[in-house]
């Protein structure tokens, strides 16, 4: 079968000119020279060259597409080489299969105040834990759209993480690593971007690949939240869906090519169905496909629960967690019935 020029990655106006000049299939273009083509299809020489490069890449180069192919075995090895980002909650780590997966997108949904931002801040610190402590020693890009990035909380969480690691020091390697794992370095390895509306957010994501090439150690991208800028200023909902779909593809492409975890937060909304109201993640049904896995944080009485709602490699599970002054933590097994505050204070004195 011949390939239509419409399927080439060119601008629509160029494609229209090609078809008007009678070139409907790529085969017709293969034997042409750029000058000839520019004359026949009334294209500029640069455009003609671009067209021919696109055609040749598709037709002749057998390696261009084949290089992106890999067997599942190769992928397995790649996956095993990538380490996950620990959450400092062993139960959640276990449910996620060892922590937040690198190279995938994860979404955290939940009601206000349930701890979405806290988990984001915790992971922004955790990604920087040196490799000899079981971390991945990366950097983080934190896109804040709600203005909820609290520096004081980051300092709290970072101090607790540094303290936790310093207690674990056993050999020289870890001692050396500790000299560069301080609250100051944690803060300087966090790149904060404040976006006020969806235009700024989309623009930032377009520029991000260049930033990532300059900073190859970035292992985590946090967007807190993706819902906020998209839940206002939209009259045309289908345009919103389209932009969000495009955004999702951009994020997963970045996550794959830069071996980076992408963490987004989403708000909840109420859906009425058959007279019953139900809390569901915002941004609509289609957006639900965007993240690779979805984590649902919710209240059950005074307990905070995290449920894995969607995941390609793990079945659903629910774990209980607490937010302490040190950050996102497991609940003590024996203290399950206690309130969050009392266990928090007990843990504080325990250290």
């Amino acid at each position: 079968m011949q390939r239509s020029v419409f399927s080439l990655s060119l601008s629509p106006s160029v494609k229209r000119k090609l078809v008007n000049a009678g070139f409907q299939f790529t085969n017709d273009l293969l034997h042409l020279k750029p000058v000839q083509l520019s004359k026949e299809a009334t294209l500029s020489q640069l455009e003609a060259l671009e067209v021919l490069q696109a055609v040749r890449k598709e037709g002749g180069g057998g390696d261009a597409g084949a290089s992106s192919s890999l067997t599942a075995l190769d992928l397995l090895q790649k996956e095993q080489d990538l380490r996950r980002i620990v959450t400092f909650s062993s139960q959640l780590d276990a449910a996620l299969g060892g922590g937040l997966p690198v190279g995938k997108t994860t979404e955290i949904c939940g009601a206000p105040g349930v701890g979405k931002t806290q988990l984001c801040l915790q992971l922004a610190v955790d990604v920087q834990v040196p490799q000899c402590f079981g971390g991945i020693g990366g950097q983080v890009v934190y896109i804040d759209t709600e203005g909820s990035f609290l520096l004081q909380r980051v300092v709290d969480i970072a101090t607790a993480a540094v303290q936790h690691c310093s207690l674990l020091v056993e050999d020289d390697e870890q001692r050396v690593a500790m000299t560069t794992f301080t609250v100051e370095t944690i803060l300087s390895n966090t790149f904060l971007v404040r976006c006020h509306d969806y235009v700024e957010l989309l623009a930032e994501l377009h520029l991000l690949p260049d930033f990532l090439s300059d900073h190859p150690r970035v292992r985590l991208l946090v967007i807190d939240s993706v819902a906020f800028p998209f839940r206002q200023h939209f009259e045309d909902l289908s345009q919103r869906t389209r932009l969000l779909n495009g955004l999702a593809q951009q994020l997963i492409a970045m996550a794959t090519s830069h071996n980076m975890a992408v963490l987004m937060t989403n708000q909840m909304t109420t859906r009425l169905r058959g007279g019953q109201s139900q809390q569901v993640p915002a941004l609509g049904e289609t957006w639900g496909h965007a993240p690779t896995s979805r984590l649902l944080l919710h209240w059950a009485g005074s307990r905070r629960l995290a449920a894995i709602f969607k995941s390609p490699d793990h079945t659903g599970a629910t774990v209980q967690y607490q937010i302490t002054s040190e950050g996102f933590r497991d609940i003590d097994q024996s203290e399950q019935t206690h309130t969050v505050q009392s266990t928090a204070s007990q843990r504080d004195t325990g250290h």
Binding site: S7, S9, A66, A72, L76, R273, H289, P312
Partner: protein
């Protein structure tokens, strides 16, 4: 529309192409639809020569009829029905994925589309010992899950590794790279992919909507054209190479709150068989049940709207309990 070139058929030399072009005839279509007698006068070529050229061009570009008996013969010899590895789904598909056809799975987030795709890939590569091409456009593919499924099938590590090697993965995140890849496969890379033993029997695209949906709607109409391109190349590839194409699609909610597959009415004609996957609605807000229901919404073989239930755990079950479970599954359905 194919542009006229010298050497396309005997008698069509450079001078003649130039003359024809001067007369406004640039494509095969122009030659076929023009008045030969008048053209012969304008280009000062013999009528006979032009007539011969037209006949050759027509023969080259025309489709020719095939007798139904031959077609049936070919169908019997070349079509394979690939089991999905799950009895409930097989029952719905009567009784599996047909090669040469496009089968679609649609469903909401977490409804098990990707899991079914993984299960099918593992079943074909391990049980049937054939190669599979898996095109991942959402980043949802994890090899560790494939390994888990294989571990449920066999404890022999070598066999697991061999099966993993028969699954070829492309990770593409926009529609143009998807098209490049599909045309590349169509242009002969499909056969090259089967070097590792076994021929390619299935091409899985998970998900086709992820790359197309961002382009649809609004004022631009390029998205529609690209969608049909994807559909066209998938269809011809499935037919020509006798592979089963399995694609996934998202769902949208109609005004009445009813769930329907995405990508609109034009796409709905593309897959031969469509299945809608749904979570079992429970009273509880979040249920961790792995039971899903599958509804047949388009099929040319079985009456539509048949519903089956199946368990996503099926592919990770261990061998020992499989016989008992199958019995339960049969009584349940």
């Amino acid at each position: 529309m194919v542009v006229l070139r010298e050497g396309m058929c005997p008698g069509l030399d450079e001078a003649l192409v130039r003359d024809l072009r001067a007369a406004g005839i640039t494509t095969v279509e122009d030659v076929v639809s023009s008045d030969i007698e008048e053209l012969a006068q304008r280009c000062t070529v013999s009528y006979k020569a032009l007539f011969a050229i037209r006949r050759v061009l027509l023969a080259q570009h025309a489709a020719f009829p095939v007798s139904g008996a031959d077609l049936y013969e070919e169908l019997l010899s070349s079509t394979a029905i690939l089991s999905t590895g799950n009895p409930s789904l097989d029952k719905l598909l009567d009784p599996g994925l047909y090669t040469g056809e496009i089968t679609e799975l649609s469903g909401g987030p977490g409804s098990g589309k990707s899991q079914v795709c993984f299960g099918v890939a593992v079943h074909i590569s391990y049980q049937l010992k054939q190669s599979v091409i898996f095109i991942d456009t959402t980043g949802g593919l994890t090899a560790s899950r494939l390994l888990q499924m294989l571990q449920a099938e066999t404890s022999n590590t070598e066999e697991q590794m061999a099966a993993l090697q028969r699954i070829h993965i492309f990770r593409l995140f926009n529609v143009f790279s998807l098209l490049d890849c599909l045309y590349g496969l169509r242009g002969g890379r499909l056969q090259q992919a089967c070097v590792g033993g076994g021929s390619v029997k299935a091409v899985i695209v998970d998900s086709v909507s992820a790359v197309i949906a961002p382009l649809l709607g609004g004022k631009q109409n390029e998205g529609m054209s690209l969608m049909i391109q994807v559909a066209g190349v998938l269809k011809t590839m499935a037919k020509d190479f006798n592979v089963a194409a399995l694609v996934t699609n998202h769902v949208t909610r109609s005004v009445g709150g009813e769930v329907q597959p995405g990508l609109g009415a034009s796409w709905s004609h593309i897959p031969r068989t469509r299945i809608l996957l749904e979570r079992q609605e429970r009273a509880a807000d979040i249920s961790h049940s792995s039971v899903r229901s599958a509804t047949l919404i388009k099929s040319s073989r079985r009456p539509c709207h048949i519903r089956e239930q199946f368990d996503l755990q099926w592919w990770s079950r261990s061998k020992e309990e499989s016989s008992g479970k199958r019995k339960r599954d049969e009584t349940g359905s």
